[in-house]
């Protein structure tokens, strides 16, 4: 009779007797790993391709619609495409944050929804829409509703003056920008400092002491670091002699000693570091996330918010991150310039997408830096934060301005 079904004790016994050991994830075979990597790269490539494509059609929109006296329509179409890119990028940034956080902590992060987790932002969005939108009795309702919009709209509006690609080689026209103003950088600072109103008002209107603390902290912090941020840019402005972001980037062409790209990051090293640190503080990212400080303040200024209002705060932070990394790229890392490659000499159908892709790649690396730093450093104490801002960053930035001015005057 067949009795092989019964497992004898010898068969059940493992070969080596171990105590309770969590098994490490069995290593994927080399082939499987490569296949997975290629699949991920293909998905990422499609994403980047869509982004670059959306931006790269800007000149055609201009030439098709702009010449028919439909400048407004052209601008609207461009704005819609740009909004598509920004919203998608911000949504996927939340996924990137969670994935990278997991990997830094030796976890995997969300990888179940869709292909390798690439549909997670969609699921998150649906969840946010279906959450109950709670408004407490005691809140100051108009400001409570207005605050998320105040923080989100300036973050989006800043994108109107960010140039995404190289100007037209022949005419010098900048098509990859919604509004070609020559004081773009002033507009960016004017708009981005409005964000503090959203946080402070949201914290105040919530009628919660923790939210109020968060809002007050945010006000003090963002005003302090705004100064260092502005000062560190002045060095770049003196160095390139223009307020126009396109001109600032074009001034970074060429190279030092034949191999180092002539990006502003080298001559303006101090300004770069100050700007980066101040940008972390401005976006309320982790080493300086005192406004939300979940261990001390429950959730800071967005404690009382739920549903899409909370999502707007959350997405506003990421939109601010995108703006900050775009600014760092434009001001210090040569924007769309590729070292050793003259984009103007290439045919425009090839040069522009390469430039846009280079710009997005640099932004992506900076965004990775934002996430990487967040999951590495603990939070600053409040006095440390203020000391760093006023005693270190501001003098450094001022010294940088003076040195740059002397240097430029002597040359």
């Amino acid at each position: 009779m067949e009795t092989a079904d019964v497992v004898s004790e010898a068969e059940m016994k493992p070969t080596e007797r171990k105590l309770w050991v969590w098994q490490q994830r069995p290593a994927k075979s080399a082939r499987r790993r490569i296949v997975d990597l290629i699949k991920r790269l293909i998905i990422l490539g499609i994403g980047f391709g869509i982004f670059v494509g959306c931006i790269a059609v800007f000149p055609f929109v201009d030439s098709l619609l702009g010449e028919l006296l439909w400048g407004l329509v052209a601008a609207s179409v461009k704005a819609a495409l740009l909004l598509l890119v920004v919203f998608t990028a911000v949504a996927y940034l939340t996924l990137a944050e969670r994935r990278f956080a997991g990997m830094i902590q030796r976890r995997l992060g969300p990888n179940r929804v869709g292909w390798f987790g690439f549909l997670q932002p969609v699921a998150d969005g649906i969840k946010f829409f279906f959450k109950e939108d709670l408004v407490q009795d005691n809140v100051h309702k108009p400001l409570f509703v207005l605050a998320p919009a105040i923080i989100f709209i300036p973050a989006l509006a800043v994108f109107s003056v960010i140039p995404f690609g190289p100007p037209d080689a022949g005419t010098g026209m900048q098509h990859y920008q919604l509004a070609s103003v020559n004081i773009g950088i002033l507009l960016i600072f004017a708009l981005s400092s409005l964000g503090v109103y959203g946080i402070a008002l949201g914290g105040w209107a919530s009628f919660s002491k923790w939210s109020l603390f968060g809002g007050l902290r945010a006000g003090a912090q963002m005003i302090s670091y705004e100064i260092a941020l502005g000062m560190s840019v002045i060095g770049v402005l003196i160095y390139s002699g223009s307020f126009d972001l396109t001109r600032i980037v074009e001034a970074q062409g060429g190279s030092y000693l034949g191999f180092l790209p002539a990006w502003n990051v080298l001559p303006q090293m101090a300004g770069f570091v100050v700007f980066l640190v101040a940008a972390f503080a401005e976006t309320n990212r982790l080493p300086f996330d005192l406004p939300e400080a979940e261990q001390e303040l429950v959730g800071g200024y967005h404690t009382e918010y739920s549903s899409m209002k909370f999502a707007l705060f959350y997405l506003g932070e990421y939109a601010n991150m995108v703006v900050a990394s775009a600014l760092v790229t434009l001001l210090f890392l040569g924007g769309w310039l590729v070292p050793g490659l003259d984009l103007g000499a290439l045919p425009p159908l090839l040069g522009a997408p390469i430039g846009i892709f280079a710009f997005m790649l640099k932004m992506f690396i900076l965004l990775f830096l934002f996430i990487w730093v967040r999951w590495t450093l603990p939070r600053f104490r409040y006095d440390q934060l203020m000391a760093l801002g006023w005693k270190i960053l501001l003098p450094t930035a001022l010294g940088n301005v003076i040195l740059t001015a002397i240097f430029v005057a002597l040359l």
Partner: protein, 178 residues
């Protein structure tokens, strides 16, 4: 006795540490290494944590070489059981060998069981044993009251495919799949 006061002084920071930047780079290097390190996540439904040898999970009733139940209905396990979850009804054994009794009914309430393993230690015939099956979940409370047939089929339906490295014989696989 006076309370001793311990005065702590913060360690002096050197120039590099005062700059914040160098320690930050060191920290970033640590996290970057973890970023590329092998991940320890066990992706549960596909991967399982193997249990330790001797783990006390779901019960099983063993069969002898003829395929008959090994149990002789001696009530040792039911007596030893501290939570009194075993219910046995004895009957005259129809097998025609050395055995006089066999369990007509052998019922264990898995919800009352505390998985102490006393029944396994008490059993003189090694008929009842605890297996490493730990995923005990059902939709109804009644489903947790296991009868003799359920307990006899434990290794066929649970142990062989999921927990054992031994590949089940083809007949079992056919039964499982079909």
């Amino acid at each position: 006795m006076a309370i001793g006061v311990k005065k702590l002084t913060n360690p002096k920071m050197n120039f590099l540490e005062k700059l914040y930047l160098w320690p930050i780079f060191k920290g970033l290097w640590v996290t970057l290494r973890y970023f590329f390190a092998r991940k320890i996540t066990v992706q549960y439904p596909e991967e399982r944590v193997p249990v330790r040898w001797g783990y006390r999970g779901l019960h099983r009733l063993n069969k002898d070489y003829r395929g008959n139940v090994k149990c002789v209905a001696c009530f040792m396990c039911a007596t030893a059981c501290p939570s009194e979850c075993i219910e046995i009804e004895a009957g005259a054994a129809p097998f025609g060998d050395y055995r006089e009794k066999y369990p007509v009914k052998f019922q264990i309430d898995e919800l009352e069981c505390i998985f102490c393993g006393m029944c396994e230690e008490a059993c003189p015939e090694a008929a009842i044993q605890l297996t490493p099956v730990y995923e005990l979940s059902e939709h109804k409370r009644a489903s947790f009251i296991l009868q003799k047939e359920d307990l006899l089929s434990v290794h066929e339906y649970w142990i062989l495919p999921r927990y054992s490295k031994v590949r089940p014989p083809r007949r079992t696989m056919e039964r499982l799949e079909g």
